[in-house]
């Protein structure tokens, strides 16, 4: 009798645990903490986390596959560290969307597809100029104490403002029809809504199997990156963690929630990175290559406009594509292709020198001054956003 009660209560616990993880949304500050921990683990395991480099690898392969480039990319997508984390993020978000029964292929009106493609082109270009996207060029760059990160942060803010102004203009001048659901079809033979969570669980299981397969072929490091990527995908999808919101919302609704979440994450990541670098667990200047200041600022600006048009940055394009948004799938392809093409053009030009070079703050002003300065800048961003949330001084309509 007591056994039956125990089984029943355990089943109840599992059900409520599942509901808490996959049905309720996670608070964004909690996701910020998880993302910082995972980013620190990626740094310890391999190199500082980035996304655009993985997109470039995909773009290189697309161009090579379409015979538009003769250069065969050096690394296969499954052996390129940033590409592997991206695959993980996409798979993690897909699994999470299936487990929470939110996955559905979502169409969009024609104008939205055009904005998705143009947004991808701008983000792909901006990420070349800044040597990184919202993750590699801003989040990781600020966290590893590369001056370019701060320049890109300013650029992203200006770009988000310009992009938002365009969206207002578009609402006034380009009315568009909605994408209406088609007439109701016959009931499908298989009820997918009941199967989705099992498919999602299967994808997570495949991620773990992939880790062991990578290990068996002497590539445990890649397996680990895939696994961390999957966890980031789950965390970002469950919390709808969005860097675009952090830069857009202060101008759109005044909401400071995502600014606070990104700031919490950034502070934790920066402190973790300081421990790793200051104690030489990894070389102190690792990951410091962002072209300060022209490249980072200009790249941030172009990227910022692009992320507003697309409605997703490098990371949220991946998790939203995993959730089934076809617009963001278009963005993903145009981002990857543009990033690859612009990168090749920049390499063959003499413009690269004009963009600037990596500046490692602790080398410039010592660790003792770098850390309080880093905390002060991030705290000032939060204080500004919190003040603006109340006063709406920067809200543009």
């Amino acid at each position: 009798m007591s056994n039956i009660t125990f089984i029943k209560s355990t089943a109840q616990d599992i059900r409520s645990g599942y509901k808490a993880i996959f049905e309720s949304n996670w608070p964004s500050w909690l996701a910020g903490i998880f993302i910082a921990i995972l980013a620190i683990l990626i740094f310890l395991w391999n190199v500082p986390w980035g996304i655009a480099g993985g997109y470039r690898n995909w773009g290189d392969w697309m161009l090579y596959g379409m015979h538009l480039s003769d250069t065969r990319p050096q690394l296969a997508p499954w052996l390129h560290s940033l590409s592997v984390t991206n695959f993980g993020l996409l798979a993690g978000a897909l699994a999470s969307a299936l487990l929470s029964r939110q996955f559905r292929f979502r169409g969009a009106p024609a104008l939205e597809y055009a904005k998705g493609a143009i947004g991808g082109i701008l983000m792909g270009t901006g990420a070349v100029l800044a040597s990184g996207c919202n993750v590699g060029g801003f989040y990781t760059a600020v966290g590893v104490f590369s001056m370019g990160g701060y320049a890109m942060m300013i650029g992203l803010g200006i770009g988000a403002f310009i992009g938002l102004r365009y969206l207002f203009w578009e609402m006034e001048h380009l009315p568009q029809k909605s994408a209406q659901p088609g007439p109701s079809k016959k009931a499908p033979r298989i009820d997918w809504s009941r199967k989705k969570p099992y498919i999602g669980g299967g994808i997570l299981l495949l991620g773990i199997i992939a880790f062991y397969l990578y290990s068996a072929f002497g590539q445990a490091q890649m397996g680990g990156l895939l696994f961390f990527g999957i966890l980031i995908g789950v965390v970002m999808h469950r919390s709808r963690f969005c860097f675009v919101r952090a830069f857009r919302e202060p101008f759109m609704t005044g909401d400071a929630t995502m600014v606070k979440a990104v700031a919490v994450s950034l502070i934790l990541y920066g402190l973790g990175s300081a421990v790793i670098k200051w104690s030489w667990i990894q070389p102190p200047d690792m990951g410091v290559f962002h072209p300060f200041w022209v490249g980072s600022l200009l790249g941030g600006l172009v990227f910022g406009v692009g992320m507003l048009l697309a409605g997703g940055c490098a990371s949220s394009t991946l998790w939203r594509a995993g959730e089934g948004h076809s617009k963001l799938m278009i963005t993903l392809i145009s981002f990857a292709l543009t990033n690859s093409i612009v990168s090749k053009l920049l390499d063959s030009s003499s413009l690269e020198a004009l963009l600037g070079s990596g500046v490692f703050l602790p080398k410039l002003i010592s660790w003792e001054i770098t850390l309080p300065l880093f905390l002060a800048v991030v705290s000032a961003w939060v204080l500004w956003a919190a003040w603006n949330e109340k006063s709406e001084k920067f809200v543009i309509f």
């Binding site: 939205e112 919101r245 409605g311």
Partner: protein
């Protein structure tokens, strides 16, 4: 049952639009309404399920209801504050 017969003063069709367009259009449409009037929004973006209630809570408007329509979209009813 009450929601089935809920009357709205204006309908905003944001189906197929993804973040931030549904919220942006909601904010713009609400500006044109008088306090007490009800705006009904049709949306398909899962993000709106967080964004619209949060926006109402912070912006002084009242979210009267949120219904998943069998045709595959969500109907939000907002009373302008």
């Amino acid at each position: 049952m009450e929601t089935e017969v809920m009357q709205s003063d204006e309908i905003l069709d944001a189906r197929g639009l993804s973040c931030p367009m549904p919220l942006l259009k909601t904010k713009k449409t609400l500006k044109g309404l008088k306090p007490g009037q009800v705006l009904e929004i049709w949306g398909t973006d899962p993000g709106s399920k967080n964004d619209i209630p949060d926006f109402c809570k912070k912006g002084g408007n009242e979210l009267l209801d949120m219904i998943d329509d069998p045709a595959g979209y969500t109907r939000y009813f907002i009373k302008k504050g």
